[in-house]
Amino acid sequence: VTKRKVSDAARRSLSRLERVLLLVPYCVQHPGVSISELAERLGATEAEIIDDLNLLFVCGLPDYTPADLMEVLIDEDRVYIRMADYFGRPLRLTRTEAIPLYVKGQALVNLLEGTTNGRGGLRELAPLRSALDKLGRALLPQEGGVAELTKRIKVQLESGEAQYLELLRDAITDHRAVDLEYYTYSRDALTRRRVEPHLVFASVGHWYMSGYCHLAQDKRMFRLDRIKSLELTDDRFEAPADADSELPPPLFYVPGPDDITVKLRATTEIAEWLSEYGGAFPPLPVQSSRDIRGGKRELVFRTSALEWVEKLLLRFGDDIEVLEPVELAERTRDAAKRILALYQRPRKK
């Protein structure tokens, strides 16, 4: 089987043809649908939809007499198509339609799985699972591929399960502020704050909420698994014009003027793990790295807080060394001593 490339001009007429092949069943199954709804649903302008309908006036079956052609009726804004029952049902899904739909659905299932008792979850999870099941069994049975994808595609959360999703949906859609107890890992602090939630999103392995924080008097992001408690208030707020614009860049490090430069020396293995993986956090925002003698590597990155770096360093004992700043080396040693004290005098205090 040889496949030649389809030219750009051909691709344009093909995407119009695809739209037409969807437009006809849409009109057959929804008699009296408005042109504006068609435009909205099919991602076209109203002028394009009218062009498509004009084209259909001359389409049909042999001998292409008025009795054989489709009957297209536009009454004010309402569209009726008759004599086109053979186009009453749409074309089956193609691979390029089915696979992305499936992957996205599967991703959402993965992101919602294992949600904690009662607090997590989303009412869409069960219907989503059954929808994917139906899709998988019915689509492309001859290839058998789509059903296989459930088992072969995973979107993993690193830590922290989705929770408070239903509450946050209500808060966002009703524009009601929430009160939270929140643990800031990077600064190691638990705070209470009132937040106007704008968006819930999953990124780099975690669920987040973004919104306006009254405590910070600015926009902030909150990791859902670090929310200790969340309550809906009756405090209403005005929704942002474009909540999507608040989505952060893929990696969360946004350089600030007061950031500290950290320089570490670690074994190559650990250095790789830190810059590729990072465990519970996103990978380190490494600015530069350099291999040195003895299977070691130097890493340079910037951060706005040292508390989390300190804990990261504790994890690796001798295998990692702080070159800069001196303060960080000192506080890591102090922290190690304080933790040792917990082990040495467990029953006093």
């Binding site: 199954q29 996205k104 979107v155 399960e161 819930v200 698994d225 200790k228 996103p282 994890r315």
Partner: protein
């Protein structure tokens, strides 16, 4: 006659015919084919057929009768029409959320429906109130579906097709050709990974998609599956999970968490308290990799203390002593 008009008529004709139609019959019927001379008609018809097939329209070539002398074309209704899936409005609405949540660079706002939007409209035809895709999405996810190698690898994973690509491993500058049986695609920490059997090493390896430096190609030409996925393979590979995730033969470790963080441990890791230590909460975890576990527990700083067994406790203390040593002594201790 416009091209789209010609194609719509061609589909209608082939979908409605009971027997395969010969090239001549098609030429004599479809407006737009007659006025061309035969060889340019033939080129046009071949091109049309190919383009329609590229949209997934199943044009079949069959003998016109039992004598098998002449061949003709038709579209099988069974293969053309979307099968009835009986999706409920709730199921469609759930699919819409999944489809709309994805954030992609270059995602069209109004400039045309996405492929999977079109798929969803097909699936929801005839249903009243099947979700409201026009309301602003409150739930989003960044899934890096624009990763260039992804579409081909999804197809390869779905169809169990062996693939070839050039790969540049982390920490090296030279790339090398790999031949891989793709078992699974895993999205984690903001990137896609391919898990599969490296044919040369005969072992399961993970490949980070951004490190694939060439196009991904199928290693074989026919579309049949090239391999079976081993039954013991799991997409949740343990090289990706935290060390406290236990299996059989694991050590049971008792850890105390401070009141500051105990709620997080219970809520996020699903660990149930088994007792208290001072005003701290005790939990039990099964540990297969003790060294990895020591590192993990130290990441909680002053908010976690290992209580049992003594071996693991001593390992934590050793690492803490190493971290408490001044840098100069550290250097000496190593030499």
């Amino acid at each position: 006659v416009q091209k789209v008009e010609r194609l719509v008529n061609l589909i209608a004709l082939l979908l409605n015919t009971r027997r395969p139609l010969t090239v001549e019959e098609i030429r004599n019927t479809i407006p737009g084919y007659q006025q061309e001379d035969y060889s340019s008609f033939k080129r046009m018809f071949e091109r049309d057929k190919e383009e329609l097939r590229s949209l997934g329209i199943p044009i079949e070539r069959r003998f016109t009768d039992v004598w098998e002398v002449e061949e003709g074309y038709l579209i099988s209704k069974d293969r053309y029409y979307l099968p009835e899936l009986d999706l409920t409005p709730e199921e469609i609405a759930a699919l819409w959320i999944g489809s709309r949540m994805v954030v992609e660079p270059g995602k069209p706002g109004k400039g045309g429906a996405m492929k999977e939007d079109q798929a969803l409209i097909k699936l929801s035809l005839g249903l009243e109130s099947a979700g409201d895709p026009t309301s602003p999405p409150w739930l989003r996810a960044r899934l890096h579906l624009d990763s260039p190698a992804l579409p081909r690898l999804l197809e390869a994973v779905a169809g169990r097709r062996r693939v070839k690509f050039a790969y540049k491993p982390a920490g090296t500058s030279k790339e090398a050709e790999r031949t891989v049986d793709p078992y699974a695609l895993i999205h984690r920490q903001g990137a896609w990974y391919l898990a599969g059997r490296d044919n040369m090493r005969n072992a399961v390896r993970h490949y980070k998609l951004p490190r694939i430096t060439s196009n991904v190609t199928f290693a074989t030409r026919d579309t049949e599956p090239d391999f079976d996925v081993p039954t013991d393979f799991s997409a949740e590979d343990d090289s990706f999970t935290e060390p406290w995730v236990g299996e059989e033969g694991a050590t049971t470790v008792e850890v105390a968490f401070s009141p500051r963080l105990a709620w997080w441990v219970q809520q996020s890791l699903g660990l149930e308290p088994v007792g208290t230590w001072k005003d701290w909460t005790l939990v039990r975890v099964s540990v297969t990799d003790e060294e990895g576990f020591v590192s993990w527990v130290l990441g909680f700083g002053e908010d976690a203390v290992v209580r049992k067994p003594d071996r693991v406790k001593q390992a934590v203390i050793r690492r803490l002593r190493a971290a408490a040593r001044p840098a100069a002594k550290k250097a000496r201790a190593r030499t």
